[in-house]
């Protein structure tokens, strides 16, 4: 039997081209396996082989969606593979969205099976989990060793059109499709086991999770913006020069609150970014590009808004858990409320 032909998609970082400063890298195709493709090759054994690897920068992909999709689909088409694999992207947001987007496009255009992998909190997971098989991974590349065998095993099954088991068996993120299988123990025993664990305060996994529709209804519009106090908040990591509170460049454990009374313009001498997930050159040169204090002050002076709130709140969105972000924002939203702020402009990189 001939080997299954695989085309693998990775970003500029995993291809060894470089970090954020190379995130604008345009799509290219290389022969054979590159970076994490080597581990996949090992897991495939003699069953499958990566014939080509497509590499594309995360920023390039997300900022040039139509062009990037078209270029990459043409590359994949010319290689004529049996399956397309992207990532895994772990908790890298733009990479995850790129992997999901390109997998969906390849599936639609070329009608071949596709797989990717990511951490459950990656925004790409929520966007694509009901459209694609996404192998559940840890939140960093340290999870490569667990992810690779699951990706390889499912890839071979999909190409050979073997039945795919439930998410819990195959390791993909639940995709709202129910697959029947036989449990080893009967329901009454499993229920009592779960109850005993719960009573003992031990962790247990429900077999019937409630759907999580966490949506918030929009608030009413600001009636009179000309008299409103408006605050600016960012996940782009803008901090006073020197990062006095040492907000981490990724997986932030805190947010900053800084007074901008009398500040009319952010300059390279006074502000910078602490964010480690995008090329910091532009924000360090002029932080108004992320936290627009200069124009908000103009608005204030011209009477377009009532007042720019004298404090801004900031954190680094890079790899920061949903739980931490929620906790930060719950805290500072209350402060904004107490300070009678009427509206917020939140900027993200």
């Amino acid at each position: 039997m001939s080997k299954i032909k695989v085309v693998h998609y990775i970003n500029q970082f995993f291809a060894g081209i470089g970090g954020e400063e190379f995130a604008d890298h345009k799509p290219e195709i290389r022969d054979g396996a590159v970076g994490p493709g080597m581990a996949l090759t090992g897991a495939f054994g003699d069953k499958a082989e990566i014939i080509k690897t497509v590499v594309c920068g995360d920023s390039y992909f997300n900022e040039n969606l139509a062009d990037a999709k078209k270029a990459i689909i043409d590359m994949v088409r010319s290689a004529n593979p049996d399956i397309f694999i992207a990532g895994p992207a772990f908790n890298a947001g733009r990479y995850g969205v790129a992997c999901g987007t390109i997998c969906e496009a390849v599936k639609q255009e070329l009608n071949i099976p596709v797989i990717t992998g990511m951490f459950v909190e990656n925004p790409g997971a929520e966007m694509f989990r009901d459209k694609l098989y996404i192998i559940a991974t840890k939140d960093s590349a340290a999870g490569m060793r667990d992810a690779v065998p699951a990706v390889a095993a499912l890839a071979i099954k999909l190409v050979n059109k073997e039945p795919v088991g439930a998410s819990i068996e195959e390791g993909y993120l639940p995709n709202n499709t129910r697959v029947n299988f036989f449990e080893k123990e009967r329901g009454s025993k499993r229920a009592v086991d779960m109850l005993l664990k719960k009573m003992a305060g031990k962790p247990f996994v429900t077999e019937y999770p409630m759907p999580d529709f966490d949506r918030v209804e929009p608030n009413h519009a600001v009636k009179d913006i000309k008299s409103a106090t408006i605050a600016i908040v960012t996940s782009g990591g803008i901090v006073p020069k020197g990062n006095p509170d040492r907000i981490e460049s990724s997986s932030a454990s805190k947010y900053g609150e800084y007074d901008i009374t009398g500040v009319n313009d952010l300059t390279d001498a006074t502000y910078e970014t602490a964010h480690g997930g995008y090329d910091p050159v532009y924000a360090n040169a002029d932080a108004d590009r992320v936290l627009p204090v200069d124009v908000m002050r103009d608005f204030e002076r011209e009477g377009i808004i009532g007042k720019l709130h004298n404090k801004f709140y900031t954190t680094v969105g890079n790899g920061t858990s949903t739980k931490s972000s929620k906790q930060f924002a719950t805290e500072y939203a209350q402060k904004l409320k107490n300070d009678n702020v009427q509206a917020v402009i939140l900027t993200s990189t």
Partner: protein
């Protein structure tokens, strides 16, 4: 973060480049930005033009805050 601010009762507009992420996260008022490393700027413009661009995006953001919305809405910068 955008949801927690909204939940606290303060109208909020999310200015960001990758709007599908903002939709997934659950922002209600969304304004598309320029690029990931410089959402409210463009280093290839002159400083004056760049500030004008930032002003345009923020004017759209203020319009978004002044507009009643029924669900998630993207306000394109004019």
């Amino acid at each position: 973060m955008v949801k927690e601010i909204e939940r606290a009762g303060i109208p909020v507009v999310h200015v960001c480049t990758v709007t599908p992420i903002s939709m997934t996260v659950g922002a209600n008022r969304i304004v598309p930005a320029i690029a990931i490393p410089h959402p409210l700027g463009n280093p290839s413009l002159t400083p004056a033009d760049e500030k004008q661009l930032r002003r345009k995006i923020l004017t759209t953001a203020l319009d978004a805050l002044s507009t009643e919305v029924d669900g998630q809405t993207i306000f394109e910068v004019k």
